[in-house]
């Protein structure tokens, strides 16, 4: 016979401590520490009325960016093309990436798809999405029963 899930309590205690520390740092630096799971990296701004997603996609033409919202999933796809250079020219250094990209993220709430607006300026994409009316939090007034 053996006891399952028997973990020495000191490890459990260390786990708890680590969680606490992580939470502490998250609270102090909420904007740091999330690694983008794909390209492009995105920032999400929210309030009760909607959200704004921004992404840095330098060198991508506005017509090459495709934004779509299905349910509560936002998909961003596009492609970045390299400069068209002559055959006889040569690269000394190449650090920038080229090619296609697709990334989907789950939105924290349903949005009004008809009112999604995307703007693109200086290589920064800005998508603003108002929250769907039916999804907005409703305030319920408590009536006193006479």
């Amino acid at each position: 016979m053996y006891r399952r899930y028997r973990v020495p309590s000191v490890y459990r205690e260390m786990d708890r401590l680590q969680r606490e520390m992580n939470r502490l740092f998250e609270d102090t630096y909420p904007t740091r520490g999330h690694r983008a799971a794909g390209y492009p990296a995105m920032n999400v701004w929210t309030n009760d009325e909607g959200l704004i997603i921004t992404a840095e996609v330098p060198g991508v033409k506005p017509e090459d960016i495709d934004v779509s919202v299905v349910g509560d999933t936002l998909t961003l796809s596009g492609s970045r093309k390299p400069d068209e250079i002559q055959e006889d020219s040569r690269y000394h250094r190449q650090e920038r990436g080229y090619g296609d990209f697709t990334r989907s993220i789950q939105l924290p709430f349903l949005v009004n798809v008809k009112k999604v607006e995307a703007t693109f300026q200086n290589g920064v994409l800005n998508i603003s999405m108002p929250r769907a009316e039916e999804d907005k939090p409703k305030k319920i007034t408590v009536k006193a029963v006479a």
Binding site: P30, T31, R32, H34, R35, A36, Y39, A41, M42, N43, V44, W45, T46, N47, L51, I52, T54, E56, V57, P58, G59, V60, K61, P62, S79, R80, K81, P82, D83, I85, Q86, D88, S89, R90, Y91, H92, R93, Q94, E95, R96, G97, Y98, G99, D100, F101, T102, P108, F120, N122, G123, V124
Partner: protein
């Protein structure tokens, strides 16, 4: 040539760490923009990603042999919204390149479009290939 069917693999923005004993006078972060450099017949082209910067916020200086790109980007604050998820940070860009002797410093041109800066650096006439005829002595 780069393969256009591959998908983009890019690293996170790389932050500049100030050399010891110096501090930045602007209260925001500074990044090293990624760059491509290629050479066509008579000029060298430097391509850098500076998303968020516009023609008004970029400064390019050539001092002695060093060309420095400074792009100032003020982080955008969306009024009434809270930043709830962040994968990248916004800040200035700075990068320097050492110019070789063959570049004609007076003819460097720069353009910016969709957050990408192109620097065209023509080679000086004297530096371009020349044939030297050998005389019998």
């Amino acid at each position: 040539m780069a393969d256009t069917t591959k998908s983009i693999q890019e690293m996170e923005k790389q932050e500049i760490t100030a050399p010891e004993d110096t501090e930045r006078t602007r209260d925001c972060q500074c990044f090293v923009p990624r760059a491509d450099i290629y050479e066509v017949d008579d000029q060298i082209v430097v391509v850098t990603d500076v998303p968020g910067a516009s023609e008004a916020s970029i400064e390019i200086t050539v001092e002695k042999n060093v060309l420095t790109i400074n792009a100032y980007v003020d982080p955008v604050k969306h009024e009434g919204y809270a930043l709830t998820w962040a994968e990248y940070e916004v800040g200035d860009y700075q990068r320097s390149f050492r110019l070789s002797e063959e570049i004609d410093r007076n003819k460097i041109e720069a353009t910016i479009k969709d957050g990408v800066l192109h620097l065209y650096m023509p080679k000086a006439k004297e530096a371009q290939a020349r044939k030297i005829s050998v005389k019998a002595g």
